[in-house]
Every structure is written in structure tokens, then in C-alpha cells.
């Protein structure tokens, strides 16, 4: 059940690929369904969580390093999961209407779901290493989301900086987690959380803490790492509403809360968190007042509130932890609604600059009302939820019992932060909705469509309800999550609107009145709109550092590489040569004493052919058609060598590949010069010849030394077990499709990727049309070559039959998916050569990419089927099937895998050759 919550959003991702062809509203529906299902599962589990149970689920992954796919649902993860899914749902709805003009909705929602899944993974991980994996995944997917409008420089920069900052924090986190797991003796949270005393007594404690805090502070945008967050505002607003309210930036907070029982309580924890949190709180709140960009203001406000939560966690009393969690909920709701409101304003006015949008009240009073309530929550005005957690914060600030001078500073700074936050909240409302008439907005604003407002309405309603009836709504949720955070039951606390006149209330009132005063002073007294924003110091330092690094790399590259390839290749070869020669001087590199075999006529012929043809290619390389012919002779020599030395499978494969390679090179010549004049200026023929000679001698010597030494091979295992375990007598094939099937799976994936790469590169290429060859003779327009055509018609069925034969017998006799796929490809390609591309394409079809993908899916499906039966990925089984008339037929599941190989090889080869051929033919066919 638990795994479903994490996996549901990801399961939806492949569906988006298909939805690209469907109607536009399909993608948001898919996303909403995945989200709703996950939410349903979560709610179904809720009663057990509220009973104090810790649900867990586990599957081994890499037990050798302590990595398991294990999940855990307790009160703390429940709270965060609920926020992620619930706000996620509203964001999906909002994005559906906000991005209605966007071309690729499927891509956006696929990324959003990828991010949601990663985020859920963080909060539900039981294993710390798994948590780190998800942590990095959120970084990567948020990179793609922030940079969604990748044609804008600001979006690219913002995404890059976010990735760089949170990514480097992630590295620190990894180191911290590894150390923590080492000290605690396990990466499983249930054991780590119980090892608090052991960890704090360890000499590594301070190192662990600093590393993990680096990870959390970068993710949660604490000063001085806060600068990535304002930059990330280049993201589409639904993304900001999601990432910067309930998810991404809360990941750092979650980590601190999760590890609270292990790491909290020490002096380092207390000082690091309170000081960093306090500075962030006050500094960012101050900065927020002076942002002219609506989202910029909200970004700094987010940073400031994150500082507040960090500070609360740092204070370290049970009650402050409760307040931290309460503020997590409150901040998520009001900040998400504010971002959405800002998006609506941006949408309606065409700008987010508060110097240009004023007096919107008369155009969109309803949106204004919603924004007012949410901003009141942000400022901590009574009756709304933000007020309650801020009260608790003030109370905790006053009750601080440690930290010396901090006891005085903290309450003062808290009020100061409160004053600033009231001021910027007021600015958000007053500047946008009142102040004056709209100035120079690109559009005349009006109320947004109904559906765009609904998510905001829901969130604002939650803000109000929590603010009015906190005890009824969040008390039990807070209790159960605080219990999971602290590891013990939290002290009794009462959430209520009215506690009587006490010190926190006085502080709130001071902050409120002070904030109002400050805002009007700054707005009218200092002429806020003329304030020039200073550039962020931390970002400037970061930019400088990046520039310096890039400059350094550039200088290094300039020295090593001057634009040409030959120099680089020579250097590489020389280096390899030097490294290769090294052992000759240090150890015995001479030939061994193993028994050698006298050569026979066949071997002599094969190698003579190979050598003569390769030397021929060397000298004929300028006359390119001849060079290709000679190269194919080399290939034949290699094939003969395989035939002679007991490798029938290799010989078959080499022969088929030889055919398609020659075709490939000939097709390439269609687009390249057919002959190359000698290079006049710089052609270091002699030098290169010497270098090549030394390399050849070295490689030859190495081969000789290897062949004259005794062989220690692990192949005995494969030979012994091929029949009993793999059910096939052709050991090479059994290795490929059974023993090492996972490797093969990777390899066919590479082949398919290369083929797709070829196809997409060609699609983007404008190939010039060629009228004549190098000597001025016109190209023949004849697409049909009669003799070959007749021959192919005769041979094609036979060749396909041969291919089938090779495939079926492949498990026991030479053959198999690779060879059969190549043979079928060669046969079909011959048809193209004989009848021209247009005729053949019309009959065979063009979608070879689909064939290759189908092959990969078949191979993957075979492997996954084994998992469904409880065996590891790609475990094979085999048996014998009785068929009527035919008799007993040996059947191995590996054959199905081999079918995948066959289809992938066939599809990829045809994709490469026909695309290249079609480009050429297309260029020719344009001829009037």
C-alpha cells in the first residue's frame, strides 16, 4: 500500500507520453487521477497512523551497502504527504487553467508528477540512502520545472543556480548520511532514530551535523544559500506555488524534523539552527519589503518563513517543535494561495511589477479579497492561521532558557521580523489593489475564469477555518506528527484563538502596528517605487565563482585543444602508448611459455587477406569508394578468422554487420565528397606513420605476450551450466540471453538509442541536394535496378526464412536474435536497394523506431515477468512443450528475451539505413 503512494505519480509518467497524442485535457486528468488515488490510499491508512502505528514496507535493493527500498509512514510523514498530495491536487487544477495556452501540457504534467513522486519518496523513506536518492531526484526534476520555459535566459539561469546550490548541498548530505549510517550501524531510520545517544557521543557527531545541515540549509534556502530561491521565480507560477510552499523548500525542514531525535539537543544544533534561522528570518523579511516583483516579494517571504521554522526547530523544546510543524502547515496553505493569486494578477495584467500594477480593487475585488485573507495569514493577523503559529513562536522566543545573550536578542528580533513581515504583506495588498490607478499594464485586468480561482478559494478557506477553529481541525494531526518528530508524546498544548492578554499577544500587536507604520513610512516617506533594488551579494559571489571556474576550464581547454582533432587524437594515443609502455620497464613483459600451435593454410589465408586489405585501405583512403571495398575485404578476413577459430556465431554476425556497414558507408558517401585531395599545408604523414607503426607493434606484442601465456578463464562455469540452467546448447547464445541477459539488455538499449540519435539528427539536418558527382556526371534518377530487383524478389522470402531459422535454433545452434535480426535487416535493405526507397517504404512501413521500441519492451517485459513470479529480474526458466504433430519442442523463456533482441536489432538497423537512404532519396526526388 505504502509503495503505491510513492509510485502512483511515477506510474502516470509513461502515460503522458501516450497522452501527447490525445486531447489536451487528458494530461491534467491523468495527473489528477494519480494524485487522487495516492491521496485516497493515504487517507485509508490515516486511522492506523492516528492510532500511533508506524506503517512500514520494505524491499531489498542493494543489501551489500545497506540500501533498501523501504518506506515508513508515521505521523510526521503523514503530515508532509498530506500537504504534498493535497496542495499538489490544487496546483494541478490551477495549472490546467493557468497554462491553457501552453503547447505541451503533457510535458509539464509529466515533470510535475516526476517531482511529486520524488518528493513523496523523501518524506516516506525509511532508508536514509533511499531518502538521498529521492532528494537528488527532487533536485533534478525541480531543475527541469524551474527551467520549463527553456527559451528564456532567466529560466535557464534560475534552474542552473538552483541545481548547483541544492546539488552541492546534496553532496554534503550524502557524506553526512553515510557517516551517520556508519555511526548508527544502519541506514534504516527505525534504528538510526533509536541511536541518538550513540550518535551524539560519537566523535563524528559535529561533522555529521554540519554536513547534514548543509544539505538541509541549501534545500530550504537559508542564508547564505537563499539566493537560488528568488532566481527560481522564473518558473511558471504553478511550479512556484508548489515548490516554494509545500514541497521542495520544505524538504530541508522535513530532514531536520526527521532526524530531530538523533541530532537535536546539542549546543551545535541549538546555535547553528537558531542563529541561521534568525538571520534568515529577519534579513529575508527586510529584503521582501523592497522587491518590486510580486513573486520576488513572495520568494523572500518564503525564505523568511523557512528561517522561522528552522529557528523553531533549533530552540529545541517540545513545544517549539509543535509550533514548527504548525507553521509548516500554515505557511504551505497561505503561501500556495498567495503564489496562485500572484499568478492570476500576472495573468490578468501581463506584468508582475508592483510599480505598474496598482488599484486593481476596482477591477478584481473578489481576487483582492482572497489575497487579503491569505496576506493576513502571512502577516500573522488574528482570525487567520498564520496568527496562531506566530503567537506560539513569540511565546517560545520569550520562554527561551539557554543561549545567554540570545535570550534577549531572540524576542527582539522576533518582533522585528514580525514588523517586516506585516509591512511586506501590507505592501502586497495595498500596492497592488489600492494606491492608484493601474499604470501601463499591458492588458486591462478583469476577474479570472472561475476554475482558476477555485484552488485559491479552497486554500483561503483552510486558512480561515484553521485560524478560527484550530483545536478542532489540526490538533490531532499536530499531536500525532509531533509525536513522530520528537520520538515521545508531546506535552499537552491547546490551540485556541484567545488565550487572554499575555506577552505574545502584546508582541503581535506591536508587530502589527509597527508593520503598518513602517510600510506607510517607506511607501510615502521614502518613495518606495523609486527604490533601486540592490543586487544580491550572495548571488554576486556565486556568479563570480562560476565565471572564474569557467574561465579556468576555458584556459585549460584552450591550451590542450586548439580546435583541431588530429592533435587531440595524437595526444591521446601518445598518452596511451606511454602508459602501455610503462610495464615493459618495470616487470617482465616478454612472451610466456605456453604451447603454441602451428598455423595452417586457412589461418594464413585469413590473416594475409586481413593485413593486405588493411594496408590497402591505409593507402587508398583518398579514393573513397575503393577504400570502402578494401575495408569490406578486411571484414571478410576477420569473418574467416572467426570461422576458422571456432566462433560460428561471431562469423555470422560479422558477415551481416559487414554488409550493413558497407551500405552505411556508401550512403554516407552520398553526402560527403567522394574523393579527397591531399592536404597541401599540414599533413604530417611521416610522423603519423611512425606513431601508427609504434602503436601497431605495441598492440601486436601485447597480443603475442597474451597468447603465449596460460589461460585462466571462468568459462568453465558457463559450459557446465549452459544446458542444466539455461536449457540451450549454444553457450554463446545462452550467455547473451540468460547468464548475462542484463548486460545484453543494456547493450540493445544502447543500440536503440544510437539509432534514435541517428534518426533525430538526420531529421534536424538540411541536406543539400546533389546534382552531379565529383566529376560532373549527372546522378541517375533511376530508383529501380532490375537485375537486383528480380534477384531480391526471389531471395527475400528465402532470406527471411533463413533469419527465422537462425532465430529459432539460436539457443542450441549458431544463430540467435542478434544474427537473425541482422540477416532480416540485410534482406529488407536489399529490397530498398533494388526497388528504391519510396516503393519499399510504402510496402514495409516506415516506423522502425516503433519496432526497436517494441523489442526493448519485449525484453523488459520478459525480465519483469520473472519478477512477478518472485524471481530476480530476467531470471529465465525453460522446459519442453508437447505440440501435436510436431512433437517435443524445447522452450526457454530466454527465447522471448531473444525475440526482444531480434526486434531491437532489426528495427534499429533498418531505422539507421532507411533514414539515411531516405534523406538522400528525398534530396534527389526534389528534382523537378
Amino acid at each position: 500500500m505504502l509503495a503505491f503512494i510513492v509510485l502512483l505519480p511515477w506510474l502516470a509518467v509513461p502515460a503522458f507520453v501516450l497522452s501527447a497524442r490525445g486531447p489536451r485535457s487528458l494530461a491534467p486528468w491523468l495527473a489528477a487521477c494519480a494524485d487522487a488515488l495516492a491521496l485516497g490510499v493515504l487517507l485509508a491508512l490515516a486511522p492506523r497512523v492516528f492510532d500511533g502505528e508506524v506503517l512500514s514496507w520494505s524491499m531489498p535493493w542493494v543489501p551489500q551497502i545497506g540500501l533498501a527500498f523501504s518506506l515508513r509512514l508515521d505521523g510526521l510523514s503523514f503530515l508532509f504527504t498530506l500537504l504534498i498530495l493535497a496542495i499538489g491536487m490544487l496546483v494541478i487544477l490551477y495549472a490546467r487553467y493557468y497554462l491553457s495556452n501552453e503547447a505541451r501540457l503533457d510535458r509539464f504534467f509529466a515533470l510535475l508528477m516526476l517531482f511529486t513522486g520524488a518528493m513523496l519518496g523523501i518524506v516516506l523513506s525509511e532508508n536514509l540512502l533511499l531518502l538521498f536518492v529521492f532528494w537528488e531526484l527532487t533536485g533534478l526534476s525541480s531543475f527541469l520545472l524551474i527551467g520549463y520555459w527553456s527559451n528564456k535566459a532567466g529560466a535557464r539561469d534560475g534552474a542552473r543556480i538552483a541545481l548547483a546550490v541544492t546539488g552541492s548541498g546534496g553532496l554534503a548530505l550524502l557524506a553526512g548520511v553515510l557517516l551517520l549510517g556508519h555511526v548508527a550501524g544502519s541506514f534504516e531510520l527505525s534504528r538510526v532514530l533509536a541511536a541518538g545517544a550513540q550518535v551524539q557521543a560519537s566523535p563524528y557527531y559535529s561533522v555529521i551535523l554540519v554536513l547534514i545541515l548543509l544539505g538541509a540549509f541549501t534545500k530550504s534556502a537559508q542564508v547564505p544559500f537563499h539566493f537560488w530561491l528568488p532566481g527560481a521565480m522564473a518558473a511558471p507560477t504553478p511550479v512556484s506555488a508548489y515548490l516554494h510552499s509545500a514541497t521542495m523548500v520544505k524538504a530541508g525542514i522535513f530532514l531536520l524534523a526527521r532526524l530531530y531525535p538523533v541530532l537535536a539537543g546539542s549546543d551545535i544544533w541549538f546555535y547553528a539552527l537558531t542563529v541561521v534561522g534568525l538571520v534568515t528570518l529577519v534579513f529575508a523579511a527586510y529584503q521582501a519589503m523592497f522587491r518590486h516583483d510580486l513573486k520576488g516579494l513572495l520568494a523572500y517571504s518564503t525564505v523568511s518563513h523557512l528561517g522561522l521554522i528552522t529557528l523553531l526547530l533549533g530552540i529545541g523544546t517540545p513545544l517549539s517543535a509543535v509550533a514548527a510543524l504548525f507553521h509548516v502547515i500554515n505557511h504551505a496553505t497561505f503561501k500556495a494561495s498567495l503564489f496562485m493569486a500572484a499568478g492570476i494578477i500576472d495573468h490578468e495584467c501581463g506584468t508582475r511589477d508592483m510599480r505598474r500594477i496598482n488599484g486593481l480593487w476596482r477591477y478584481m475585488p473578489y481576487t483582492g479579497l482572497l489575497a487579503m485573507v491569505a496576506a493576513a495569514a502571512m502577516a500573522g493577523v488574528p482570525l487567520v492561521n498564520g496568527f496562531l503559529s506566530k503567537e506560539m513562536f513569540f511565546g517560545e522566543a520569550l520562554a527561551l532558557e539557554r543561549g545567554g545573550g540570545l535570550q534577549w536578542i531572540l524576542p527582539l528580533a522576533a518582533v522585528m521580523g514580525g514588523v517586516f513581515s506585516v509591512a511586506y504583506s501590507l505592501r502586497f495588498i495595498h500596492d497592488v489593489f489600492f494606491l492608484a490607478r493601474p499604470l501601463h499594464t499591458p492588458r486591462i485586468p478583469h476577474e479570472p475564469p472561475r476554475w482558476l480561482r477555485i484552488p485559491v478559494e479552497i486554500l483561503v478557506a483552510v486558512c480561515l477555518l484553521v485560524g478560527l477553529f484550530p483545536g478542532a481541525i489540526v490538533q490531532s494531526l499536530l499531536t500525532v506528527s509531533a509525536q513522530a518528530l520528537l520520538g515521545t508524546a508531546p506535552p499537552g498544548f491547546s490551540l485556541a484563538l484567545w488565550h487572554g492578554v499575555n506577552e505574545p499577544l502584546v508582541m503581535s500587536m506591536i508587530a502589527l502596528s509597527g508593520g503598518v507604520l513602517l510600510y506607510f513610512l517607506v511607501q510615502y516617506g521614502l518613495d518606495l517605487h523609486s527604490h533601486v533594488q540592490s543586487r544580491n551579494l550572495a548571488k554576486r559571489i556565486f556568479d563570480r565563482a562560476v565565471l572564474a571556474l569557467a574561465g579556468l576550464a576555458d584556459a585549460g581547454a584552450r591550451n590542450a585543444y586548439r580546435g583541431g582533432m588530429t592533435t587531440g587524437v595524437s595526444l591521446t594515443i601518445l598518452t596511451a602508448l606511454f602508459v602501455g609502455l610503462f610495464p615493459f620497464f618495470t616487470s617482465t613483459a616478454g612472451p610466456g611459455t605456453a604451447h603454441t600451435h602451428p598455423s595452417d593454410a586457412m589461418a594464413l589465408a585469413a590473416f594475409a587477406l586481413m593485413c593486405a586489405a588493411s594496408i590497402g585501405t591505409m593507402f587508398a583512403h583518398r579514393r573513397r569508394v575503393e577504400a570502402i571495398v578494401l575495408l569490406s575485404v578486411v571484414g571478410l578476413g576477420v569473418t574467416l578468422c572467426f570461422v576458422h577459430f571456432s566462433a560460428p556465431d561471431l562469423a555470422l554476425t560479422q558477415l551481416a554487420v559487414e554488409t550493413v556497414s558497407i551500405l552505411l558507408l556508401l550512403l554516407a558517401l552520398n553526402h560527403l565528397p567522394q574523393e579527397a585531395p591531399p592536404e597541401a599545408a599540414v599533413d604530417h604523414t611521416v610522423r603519423h606513420f611512425l606513431l601508427a607503426g609504434v602503436v601497431g607493434a605495441g598492440v601486436g606484442w601485447l597480443t603475442w605476450a597474451m597468447l603465449t601465456r596460460p589461460l585462466e578463464s571462468i568459462s568453465g562455469y558457463f559450459l557446465r551450466n549452459s544446458v542444466p540452467q539455461g536449457g540451450g546448447t549454444n553457450v554463446v547464445n545462452v550467455i547473451l540471453v540468460d547468464f548475462r541477459a542484463f548486460d545484453t539488455y543494456g547493450e540493445i538499449t544502447v543500440i536503440a538509442i544510437a539509432a534514435l540519435g541517428v534518426a533525430s539528427m538526420l531529421a534536424a539536418l538540411e541536406l543539400p541536394r546533389r546534382e552531379t558527382d565529383a566529376r560532373g556526371r549527372a546522378w541517375s534518377r533511376e530508383t529501380r535496378f532490375l537485375p537486383l530487383d528480380l534477384l531480391v524478389r526471389l531471395l527475400l522470402p528465402l532470406a527471411l526464412l533463413v533469419s527465422l531459422h537462425l532465430f529459432v535454433r539460436g539457443h542450441n545452434q549458431p544463430g540467435g536474435g542478434f544474427v537473425a535480426g541482422l540477416v532480416a535487416a540485410v534482406a529488407l535493405v536489399l529490397l530498398y536497394v533494388g526497388r528504391g526507397t519510396a516503393w519499399s517504404s510504402a510496402r514495409i512501413g516506415r516506423d522502425f523506431a516503433a519496432t526497436a521500441m517494441a523489442g526493448l519492451l519485449v525484453a523488459l517485459g520478459t525480465g519483469a515477468a520473472a519478477m512477478l513470479l518472485g524471481a530476480p529480474f530476467l531470471t529465465s526458466s525453460h522446459g519442453h512443450v508437447q505440440l501435436p504433430l510436431v512433437g517435443t519442442v524445447p522452450l526457454a523463456s530466454a527465447m522471448l528475451f531473444d525475440l526482444g533482441v531480434f526486434l531491437t536489432v532489426l528495427g534499429s538497423t533498418l531505422l539507421i539505413l532507411t533514414r539515411l537512404g531516405l534523406r538522400g532519396a528525398g534530396a534527389l526526388a526534389k528534382q523537378p
Binding site: 580546435g563 593485413c611 556465431d649 550493413v660 560527403l672 599540414v682 601508427a692 598492440v699 589461460l711
Partner: protein, 113 residues
């Protein structure tokens, strides 16, 4: 001349021709060189399973077998080699279209850029 020596010479010559062509100033020659070099490497890896005549690794046909592991390694290498060559071929074509020539060394004016 033993078979082992013959193979060593063969692999050496293939490698020599490959490296020489790799260092030519034209993309097409570089392609030829890469292909030759991959032949050399394939034969080398294959030979690391030692040279056996008439002992294909088909269980049951006889008592002793050639090394199947080296063969399996080389088999996929051959096919992947083709796919990679195709990729480089298209890169070469794209470069030719963009630059108008197929030299791998830049012109004087390209150096200035």
C-alpha cells in the same frame, strides 16, 4: 610461424592502419580508421579466449570447447560497433553540411573565431 604469432601480427597491422587513418585530416578517413581499430580490438578480445580450431562452443558436439565468454563479449561489441559507426557517420555528415568541408582541422579563419 605459429597461429599465435600470426594473430599477433594481424592485430598489430589492423591497429597500425587504424591509428594512421584516425590521424588523417578528413572525417571519412577517420571513420575508416575507427572501423579498422574496432576490428583490431574485437579480434584481440576474441583471441584472449585463445585460438581453437574446430571446437565451437556448442555443448554436446565434442569434448573440448573454445571460450564462449570472449565470443559473447565480441558478438555484442560487433553490433554496438555498427550502431556507433552509424552515429559518427551522421555526425560527420552534419559537420560537412554545417562547415562545407569535411576536414577535422579548422581553417585559419575558423581558428580566429
Amino acid at each position: 610461424m605459429s597461429m599465435e604469432l600470426l594473430t599477433a601480427v594481424g592485430v598489430g597491422v589492423l591497429a597500425m592502419a587504424g591509428v594512421y587513418l584516425l590521424l588523417r585530416a578528413r572525417m571519412f578517413s577517420v571513420l575508416l580508421g575507427l572501423t579498422l581499430l574496432s576490428y583490431a580490438i574485437n579480434v584481440f578480445v576474441f583471441a584472449s579466449g585463445r585460438l581453437r580450431v574446430g571446437m565451437p562452443p556448442i555443448v554436446g558436439s565434442h569434448g573440448d570447447y573454445a571460450d564462449p565468454l570472449a565470443q559473447a563479449l565480441v558478438l555484442t561489441a560487433i553490433v554496438i560497433g555498427f550502431a556507433m559507426t552509424a552515429f559518427v557517420v551522421v555526425l560527420a555528415i552534419a559537420a560537412h553540411v554545417r562547415l562545407g568541408h569535411d576536414r577535422v582541422e579548422p581553417d585559419a579563419e575558423e581558428m580566429d573565431r
